[in-house]
């Protein structure tokens, strides 16, 4: 039996489904239990519980006109909609809505690559285009541009960007929303609007210049619910002449402070791609029982003790892999510059050259690279992450169904903040019975110029206790993050309000502003209720329906 939208009767819902069928064809309205079940969040930490967010039905339009028709019907009958692109946002909700009972608008059939401009390094795509699709389109035409993709690469280029998703290559390209340029949106009243240069009658500059004229409203459609995006432009990275990597290692625990400062300076100058921070000392825990004992001893380990151990074993405390993209001569010089700067700042620094490629790769080179290299760093989508989706861990030893969701706060981009976050996060994790890498925490630098301290919490389809514990842990961690001024950059559905609560400056002025806009633009609250922590008025007034 369908999970009805809150406040909607069977009769009204049936009428809505009939009208959706008339608008887009009955074969594209999914209402059977079997079809609707496909839209469950595969990684839901609320699976099987009363709070699990379930779909009432799904519709799959294939054109902007059909999206408009769906939106107009929904607006008239006050049916909540939840747009998804490919529905692969695993760990952050997947294909399920935030408001249970919503009708999913599945945009997968709108999958055209509208244009790719090699000279201007840009593209315009529909929401159903996956990273694999765009990559294949570019390769088939031998265009000298790269995509920047997350892993796995099966997600939507549009959908990932709209959730502020991230990638791996150079500079602003890995900020997927930041690298978008112009969009087309179906508004809650069914009108079509375009932003930036796409709003001009002649759309030739759609993917050149972001801002157009006047307020930059495009931001309202990222992690938000002011419309359904039906096209987006993106800046693409030109295929570089060459790519190389190099790893820099530093000996002592406190060396992270000058190391981060130097790497930030390299990134701020635009000389490197995504820094890949690691800790060999952290990895050594797996094979060094003496180190584990040191880290777990009562009262904690001192820097002196840890540094002594590291020195005795010849294990660096930290390392960072630097990636360089561009002309071969230029990046060779940048690597030499990086080595000189960092070795001057951190005594005992060591260096190791990594891979070096020139593009385009020959078929033989490509086969070799694809076997041995991290493909995302060179803009090649893959599914390698699923090689461990199902591995046993201490927290999920059966892991018969895999899955996790993410706690992803952003901390200030300094070494001091990293060490401080490690200490405080470890305490917070201990309080919920979990472990954390207290002494050598490393950030993910997916977003340009940001440190994301991401960790995962396990999800189980077999053991609801694991899910309950993970949810409680998340709530506690989100609270600690808020107290320390670390805001999450994305959130699983059940956490949207907790995360938005942290952005509380001036009595939550940001959320109040969002709600004011929401009430004006979407008075019936039909688009993606709850997205970005923004709830429509009728649900704010009746919190028990949420």
């Amino acid at each position: 039996m369908a999970t009805l939208p809150p406040g909607i009767s069977n009769e009204v819902f049936s009428n809505a489904l009939s009208r959706f069928e008339a608008a887009i064809g009955s074969e594209w309205v999914f209402k059977s239990d079997e079809d609707v079940a496909l839209y469950r969040d595969a990684y839901s930490p609320e699976r099987g519980e009363p709070t699990e967010r379930l779909v009432s039905a799904a519709v799959a339009p294939d054109s902007v006109e059909q999206v408009q028709a769906i939106v107009r019907i929904a607006n008239e009958l006050k049916i909540p909609l939840y747009p998804i692109s490919t529905g692969k946002n695993l760990g952050y909700g997947g294909s399920a809505p935030i408001l249970s009972g919503s009708v999913v608008v599945d945009l997968k059939r709108m999958n055209k690559v509208i244009s790719v401009d090699e000279g201007r390094c840009s593209c315009v795509v529909e929401p159903g285009v996956s990273y694999f699709d765009l990559h294949r389109h570019i390769r088939e035409r031998d265009l000298k541009v790269w995509i920047d993709c997350p892993d796995p690469g099966w997600g939507s280029v549009v959908g990932n960007a709209l959730d502020h998703g991230v990638g791996y290559t150079y500079g602003q390209y890995r900020d997927h929303f930041g690298s978008h340029c112009g969009m087309e949106v179906v508004l809650p009243n069914g009108e079509v609007m375009r932003t930036g240069m796409a709003a001009l009658a002649n759309e030739d500059s759609w993917a050149d210049y972001k801002y157009g004229f006047g307020p930059y409203v495009a931001g309202l459609f990222g992690q938000a619910n002011f419309g359904i995006v039906t096209k987006m432009g993106f800046w693409l990275m030109p295929q570089p002449e060459a790519y190389r990597t190099g790893t820099i290692s530093v000996p002592k625990r406190q060396d992270i402070i000058p190391l981060v400062a130097q790497v930030n300076h390299l990134e701020n100058q635009g000389l490197i791609g995504q820094p890949g921070f690691r800790s060999p000392m952290s990895a050594a825990q797996a094979r060094e029982p003496e180190l584990r004992a040191l880290l777990e001893k009562e009262g904690g380990a001192s820097d002196a003790e840890l540094d002594r151990f590291a020195e005795s074993k010849g294990i660096p405390s930290w390392s960072v892999e630097l990636k360089f993209y561009g002309p071969e001569q230029t990046i060779a010089g940048s690597w030499e510059y990086a080595k000189a700067q960092i070795s001057a700042a951190v005594p005992g620094t060591t260096f190791e050259d990594g891979v070096r490629y020139r593009f385009p790769l020959s078929p033989e080179e490509e086969a070799q690279v694809h076997r041995n290299h991290r493909l995302v760093d060179i803009g090649v989508p893959n599914l390698a992450i699923f090689t461990i989706a199902g591995g046993r861990t201490a927290q999920n030893p059966d892991n018969a169904d895999g899955g996790q969701f993410y706690f992803a706060p952003i901390v200030p981009r300094t070494g001091e903040a990293l060490l401080d976050a490690g200490r405080k996060m470890a305490q917070a994790y201990r309080e919920v019975g979990l472990r954390y890498n207290e002494y050598y925490p490393t950030p993910a630098c997916w977003h340009y110029r940001a440190f994301i301290m991401i960790s995962s919490l396990p999800v189980s389809r077999l053991d609801p206790e694991i899910n309950r514990h993970s949810r409680e842990a998340y709530a506690h961690l989100a609270q600690v993050a808020a107290e320390n001024g670390w805001g999450e950059y994305r959130s699983p559905p059940f956490g949207v309000d907790m995360v938005m609560d942290a952005y509380s400056f001036n009595n939550h002025a940001l959320r109040r502003f969002n709600e004011t806009l929401k009430d004006a633009v979407d008075p019936n609250g039909i688009i993606a209720a709850g997205r970005g922590g923004i709830w429509p008025k009728y649900l704010r007034d009746n919190e028990e329906d949420v």
């Binding site: 079997e34 496909l38 490919t86 294949r136 893959n382 090689t387 461990i388 199902g390 201490a394 169904d401």
Partner: protein, 229 residues
């Protein structure tokens, strides 16, 4: 690390395959002609001895094989299935860890295909394996028959996957228990690049400094177009 071929020869006898013992003749359990899902590709994880044994049985049923490299489905998807399914959705089957099964199922859903038969091979402490079978009632009956004949479970699974009814009166879930220990993870993951990609997603074990959890439970499955009858 033990020699893989030697391990297979000593631990999983080829002669135990159901079709070689006369338990099942090719074409047996067809029911009416064409009533079984025609599996066009059999996917297996060669890092497990049981995966190799499963593949041997599949090949005996004339199913083209695909061995995953380090459990990674990328090449299978990019070079074969993405192109194939755009033309026409066709059924695939496999014995893999959860991740490949999950990812292929999600990709198949986009082409109107669904999981038709799934077997969770749950290792128990008493040297038995509980095979939780979700699928056509006919598959359960076949599993019970082959279990009585003491067919090793990898071959049993292959037989079930290649004899999964297109249409069934009932889909049920039932557990069939066979002898068996924890699947033998006999080949280390060779792709160094995987280590650093996966690091970003730091399962708790990695955060604690333990090794990447390469080993995991195995699943057997059939993904096929949904019958429109």
């Amino acid at each position: 690390m033990t020699n893989r071929r030697k391990f297979l020869q000593t631990s999983l006898s080829v002669s135990a395959l159901p079709f070689t013992t006369g338990l099942m003749k090719p074409g047996e359990y067809e029911g009416e002609a064409g009533s079984n899902i025609p599996v066009k590709k059999g996917i297996f994880d060669g890092r497990y001895a049981e995966g190799e044994a499963f593949a041997q049985t599949l090949s005996g049923f004339d199913v083209p094989l695909y061995e995953l490299s380090d459990g990674d489905i990328t090449t299978l998807w990019v070079d074969e299935l993405d192109l194939l399914w755009r033309q026409k959705p066709v059924a695939i089957a496999g014995m893999t860890q959860f991740g490949p099964m999950f990812a292929l199922e999600k990709l198949a859903n986009e082409h109107g295909m669904q999981m038709m038969l799934r077997i969770d091979h749950q290792v128990r402490k008493d040297e038995t394996i509980a095979h939780v079978i979700k699928g056509p009632v006919e598959s359960i009956a076949l599993a019970e028959k082959l279990k009585k004949q003491e067919v090793p479970w990898p071959a049993l699974s292959a037989a079930l996957l290649t004899h999964c009814r297109i249409e069934t009166s009932r889909r049920i879930e039932q557990t069939v228990v066979t002898p068996g220990g924890s699947p033998a993870f006999i080949q280390e993951t060779t792709n160094d690049a995987l280590h650093s990609v996966i690091h970003y997603y730091t399962p708790q074990a990695i955060q604690e400094g333990h090794d990447i959890p390469w080993d995991g439970p195995l699943f057997s499955w059939v993904i096929a177009p949904v019958s429109k009858a």
